[in-house]
């Protein structure tokens, strides 16, 4: 009896606590609320990564392995490693990126948490940009690791500021389209294999521009000769981030 009463009192206290801290939502929201939600989704993915180490570790270990395999494969056939370094860099970035992109919505679908995101009063595009930021972070961080590994394996220093700019611009376009496609394939029967099949052919401009840029930088060309490539990447980024932003709203309209 006394036990029960104590329990009831505890419950009452809990309920009073709820009443004392009512949930007051900011009405409307506007721009700052939108960016706060984008940030919340990004921060959530980062925190999950710190806790679980699911994405970044997979991407980097794949990348290191791939660079080593390329190094081994071309070792005796290519006289100078600068000849293959640009191609190796971008192939590995693109393939490693797919691993991360697959997880970005795949993990939400597998955990059943996609519904929780869709239930929240969040614009779909905020989910998109939150995921783009997280994927961009993973892709760029992985690229830095790849550059470091290539520095040692191929003895090529690709930490050139122009090359880093190329990686940033290429990464934005890649992740911008990749995040859209990752959402499209998250519920597909053949999710894991479908994403690269969809994404890689569309990524040819980014890949070609990236290889062209890195090759030109390795060859020591000046900025005037690089600017065409940078323009191409910038145009790609602008077109596809806007298009993805517009189309993303349509993906979950009935889910």
């Amino acid at each position: 009896m006394a036990e029960q009463r104590a329990e009831q009192r505890a419950e009452q206290r809990a309920a009073e606590g709820l009443a004392a801290h009512p949930a007051t939502m900011r009405a409307g929201g506007g721009g700052s609320a939108y960016f706060a939600k984008v940030g919340a989704i990004f921060a959530k993915d980062m925190r999950a990564e710190v806790r679980g180490r699911e994405v970044f570790s997979t991407m980097t270990s794949f990348s290191v392995l791939a660079v080593l395999i390329f190094g081994l494969a071309f070792d005796l056939r290519v006289p100078r490693s600068e000849m293959i370094a640009p191609g190796v860099l971008w192939v590995v970035v693109l393939f490693a990126g797919v691993l991360g992109l697959n997880r970005s919505f795949g993990a939400e679908v597998d955990r059943g948490t996609l519904s929780a995101l869709l239930l929240a009063p969040v614009d779909r595009s905020a989910i998109y940009f939150g995921k783009v930021l997280a994927n961009l972070f993973f892709t760029l961080a992985t690229t830095l690791v790849i550059l470091a590994v290539m520095f040692f394996i191929f003895d090529v220093n690709l930490f050139h500021p122009y090359n880093l700019l190329a990686v940033l611009l290429g990464g934005i376009g890649y992740v911008g389209v990749g995040t859209l496609f990752a959402a499209l394939t998250a519920n597909n029967r053949a999710r894991e294999s479908m994403l690269p099949i969809l994404l890689l052919p569309v990524m040819v401009p980014v890949f070609v521009a990236g290889v062209g840029l890195t090759a030109a930088i390795v060859d020591g060309k000046n900025f005037a000769e690089l600017s065409q490539w940078f323009n191409l990447l910038a145009v790609f980024d602008a077109i596809f981030v806007v298009v993805a932003f517009l189309l993303f709203d349509l993906i979950w309209e009935d889910a």
């Binding site: 949930a23 929780a116 239930l119 889910a255």
Partner: protein
């Protein structure tokens, strides 16, 4: 707005492939009422819940929440809905605290930390708040899922089998929550397999069979046996 019912479903129909799950369902849950939705497995309870929550669009018919059609309303209407689904809708690789704080931010809560603290106390998970959800027992996960649903204090609360996997003590916490939450300006729709609880917790009982409302009555005049009799008939 209130007189019509906080939750109104009008001629809602839904089919999945060859299976017709819901067949013109009409349902009204007035403000301040707790309605228990009962029915056999596959009767369409969960589908109806998902449609009311806006996660699934009906093929025909519409859902009005507070007089506003969910189809026409923008995403702002989702502020007024709380859902406990079969899946916990939680990140099992994050702690309970991180989960609720994340959702508090998505729902634009002011002073999110204070609200999360209050909710964690209410669902009795405060001591375990920094453990990852993966390490929680089934009952604790379910309690956190309920905490997530009531976090933003929604007037429309949809509880799809909230009592599955709950130990008796947790079920008692839940019953208390439903009583205190339902008393005010809310409308609560819940499903359960436990008829005794349904009769005890709810103000009214609605029976769903073959995608249609088969029976509907105030709970005060019913016993679990009567409801069991209805279900046996179907």
């Amino acid at each position: 707005m209130g007189e019509e019912g906080l939750i109104v479903a009008r001629k809602v129909a839904k089919r999945y492939g060859r299976k017709r799950v819901l067949n013109s369902v009409d349902l009204v849950v007035p403000q301040g009422e707790v309605m228990a939705l009962l029915g056999a497995n596959g009767a369409g309870k969960s589908t109806l819940m998902r449609i009311i929550s806006g996660l699934t669009q009906p093929d025909r018919g519409e859902v009005l929440l507070g007089g506003v059609s969910t189809r026409r309303a923008g995403h702002e209407i989702r502020r007024y809905i709380g859902l406990v689904a079969h899946a916990p809708l939680l990140y099992d690789n994050l702690s309970g605290w991180d989960n609720l704080l994340f959702f508090a931010r998505l729902y634009d809560l002011q002073r999110p930390a204070e609200r999360v603290e209050a909710v964690l106390h209410a669902v009795d998970l405060w001591p375990r708040r920094h453990d990852v959800v993966r390490s929680y027992s089934r009952g604790m996960t379910q309690r956190l899922a309920i905490g997530r649903a009531i976090l933003h204090d929604p007037p429309v609360l949809l509880l799809d089998e909230p009592d599955t996997g709950l130990d008796p003590a947790s079920a008692e916490t839940l019953a208390h929550l439903i009583r205190t939450l339902g008393a005010s300006s809310r409308a609560i729709l819940l499903t359960t397999h436990n008829l005794e609880r349904a009769v005890l917790w709810a103000d009214s009982i609605t029976l769903l069979a073959e995608g249609k409302i088969a029976q509907s009555a105030p709970a005060a005049r019913l016993t679990a046996e009567t409801v069991r009799g209805w279900m046996a008939e179907i």
